[in-house]
């Protein structure tokens, strides 16, 4: 069996594991029964007392009683109280794990937790298999394994899961597993069904070490954009649940994920992390284009949409800091940014043609 066939085998196995992981996460989602009257925010506070004390409350153990003299409520004190509340919220938020999420310490969530843990294990397995598939593909072709749309899509699925798993090492993000496994599975499905490419060779334009630099930066950006968009979608749902009392579906979902602020922070951090990388991907592409086509920027459709994506995400980062735009509006802008990225990734190759349309379509 050739390395290419091994690669295919790994990819199929990986898809099966992603499908199982998706099912496990879905089971976890369905099995998680939050208490009906616990709003997500209160739940988060209640289940994370340790986190609260990690913030401003950390003083409690060490402050001497001498300070009790300062009971008179000076103006500074009021300000400090506000600070404390914000610090506590910060500490709570920084854990990312939500109150009703299938990671909470509540006993009632046990069945959901077990399924979510199985889902996480399966996601690790699926991602490992996909990595093996990609490595086999690279060994077979003797080059970076992202030289056509098929391989690019495999690598993108790997990046989506990779970013998610990297998060999971630091925080409890099991509640994100359902969307992430779905995104990876869909990406792989498109790759295998529509984009399969059996050639190890590259078109002449790709014979460059910039293939490794530019394309890998774009792939990792894509993975992180996807995770950021998933968190943004969940944020919008949680936000709706917190604002609209009658939104039953939103409230039902929101009871199983962290509170809106946590989700917003996760989405922001992810997008803020990718933005410099995406900027680098675009600039590296420009340097490459200068070598390949004689100009560093030529408004090729791929370049144009990379630029649009960059602009919209820049808008997102600015909107988060502008009064009246923070929150929901900024989130919608973030999703428009992700849509631009998808258009750049699929749409341009499928419909627009141009210089970037070499990649096996």
């Amino acid at each position: 069996m050739s390395l290419a066939q091994w690669s295919n085998l790994f990819v199929y196995a990986s898809m099966a594991m992603y499908a199982l992981a998706f099912i496990a996460f879905a089971v976890s989602f369905a099995a998680t029964r939050p208490s009906p009257d616990a709003a997500p925010v209160e739940g988060a506070v209640a289940s994370e007392p340790a986190a609260v004390s990690a913030g401003a409350g950390a003083t409690a153990g060490a402050v001497t009683t001498a300070d009790a003299a300062a009971r008179a409520r000076a103006e500074a004190r009021a300000r400090s109280a506000q600070l404390e509340a914000e610090m506590a919220a910060e500490a709570r938020r920084s854990r990312w794990g939500g109150g009703g999420a299938p990671g909470g310490s509540d006993e009632a969530l046990a069945p959901g937790r077990r399924a979510a843990n199985i889902g996480m294990s399966l996601t690790w397995l699926a991602t490992g298999l996909l990595l093996a598939g990609l490595v086999a593909r690279g060994l077979w072709s003797g080059r970076a394994p992202w030289g056509n749309m098929y391989e690019y899509s495999l690598a993108s699925a790997l990046a989506i899961s990779g970013v998610f798993l990297a998060f999971s090492l630091r925080r409890d993000v099991r509640w994100l597993g359902l969307l992430v496994s779905a995104a990876s599975l869909i990406t792989l499905g498109i790759a295998v069904l529509l984009l399969y490419n059996d050639s190890p060779q590259l078109v002449p334009a790709l014979h460059s070490y910039w293939l490794i630099i530019h394309v890998s930066a774009a792939i990792i950006s894509g993975g992180a954009f996807t995770v950021g968009a998933a968190a943004t979608v969940l944020y919008l749902i949680a936000d709706r649940a917190e604002r609209v009392p009658g939104a039953r579906i939103s409230r039902s979902i929101a009871a199983r994920i962290p509170d809106a602020t946590t989700l917003d922070t996760l989405a922001y951090r992810t997008n803020a992390f990718v933005f410099p990388l995406w900027t680098f991907a675009v600039i590296a592409g420009a340097i490459w284009a200068e070598d390949a086509w004689g100009r560093y920027w030529g408004w090729d459709p791929k370049e144009t949409w990379a630029f649009i994506t960059w602009l919209v995400y820049a808008g997102y980062l600015h909107a988060r800091a502008t009064a009246g735009w923070r929150g929901r509006k900024a989130a919608v802008i973030g999703l428009i940014g992700f849509a631009s990225f998808l258009i750049n990734y699929f749409g341009v190759n499928l419909f627009a043609g141009g210089l970037h349309s070499y990649a096996g379509l």
Binding site: G55, T64, T279, D291, R295, G298, T304, L311, W325
Partner: protein
Amino acid sequence: MTAGPLDRARGPLTDVPDDGSPIAPPPDSGLPEDAALGADWGSARRRRTTGMGPRLGPIGWLRWGWRQLTSMRTALALLFLLAVASIPGSVLPQRGTDPIAVVDWIDGRPELGATLDRLGFFDVFVAPWFSAIYLLLFISLIGCVLPRIAAHWRAMRQPTPPAPRRLDRLAGATTWHTDDAGVLEAASTVLRAQRWRVTPGRDGEGAVGSLAAEKGFARETGNLLFHIALVLILVGVGLGAVFGWKGTVIVREGNGFANTLTQYDSFSPGRLASTEALPPFAFTMTDFDATFEREGSQRGAPRSFSAQLAYTPEPGAPVQSRVVTVNEPLRLDGAKVFLVGHGYAPHLRLTDASGRVVFDDTVVFLPQDGTFTSTGVLKAPDASPQLGFTAILAPTAIIDELGPRSVFPAPDNPGLFVSAFTGDLGLDDGVPSNVFQLETEDLEQLGLEGLAPGQSWELPDGAGTLEFVALERWASFTIAHDPGKALALAGSIAAILGLMLSLFVKRRRIWVRVDAAPSTQVLPHGASAPVTTGEDPSDGSISAPATVYRVQVAGLSRTEAADVVGEVQQLVVRLGGPVKEASS
């Protein structure tokens, strides 16, 4: 004044300078901006209460307009406008990249096409409305960044606000007691070693006192660097567009090119480019090679192109040899030669009725599809009678119900399918005509023939002989000079650096306060500070009965989700304070 509210949820251009200082708020900080705007309105109105015209004076209007333009909302709107304005450039064909497709598009929809053309939709990226958007965006950016540079400069030179009266409400606040009179000094040393900017408090006296430390100014520095770098990139792009030039030329195997204006097939100079003094290089393409995928689903996909050039950097210089491929241009002083395309150029020899050879050269055929079915024409006005030919070249020829065509791009089985015409070619009356088209309406068709290399066709009526001598190739080169390139690259690198600083550096403060503990205070048993009387390690404060000091340390993050608690705890441990349990 205590430190301002937590600077959370702030994006790149938004890290407010020290808001405890008398610095004017940046134009993006929502409320203060609107308030300032209102003040302007008020004063302007008072000045012109009796006027019939606008209620704002010209200066008032200018100020109002400037504030609007440099506000974050306007910048946001312009960002999105620019994004939306770019979309037609990717949907409609553009003259800059594919002028032929533009002509075809307009031909297909004449009315809509003409309207869109008038509005610049086929030259989106040089259209006035597109330029207007990005120029406004950059003016807005500059108007926002300049005051912030000044504000940041002041903030960096301004001392960090002294410790707030109550530290215990801040992040990681820790209090302990010690008899170490040098603890404040030690805190200062430790913090300075970690490159904190330390401002000693004014309330200090000997071992007692406070200090304020601040770190992370690079965040705003990076933020400003990023935005300045964007301006540099724009200037670089502009320099390239104004002083640069670019041309394309088709060169057949065995033929040469000298870098003068007349030799280009198309040439687009910048507005101020000096086209008289093009670098005087010349080259000959001695060989061109292309390979294609022969197996599997990608059969026919190109795999390598390489052009062998013999070039002289300037007249009289020794001839050098160089292979130019797609990612390896020929770099010459002042210009780069890029390989951008290729095609077939059959070598044809035409003998007219009188037996005279009237044409003996290669003819450029333009590929029509991925398998390089190519079309070309040969015009022989010197033949008597005049002869013209239109032909289809198939590098791997088959003939089926669709007519003659190619099934593979490599020249495995070349076939030239020629149509011969005679009559007045219309070349003598001075009207320019397309070299790739033959107007056949007024011509008489002589016949059709299929030829392989080496074969000849005796034209009907003894009009002459056409020989398909051999199949050669041509390559097209883009030759470009862009003096703004280096600046754009420098700007790009600076932009990435600035962006990383502005998104990853966190601005935070730590305060340390040491005061004399109430006399009843007894050092806790097992305190980490050594309780030794008489042997005070710090000189200067020889206090025989051990004075007990209370040490308070706390931090404040001025950026979203910065981990200042960890740093505070680290400092506490270095100073011999109580060790906290890990809080993650």
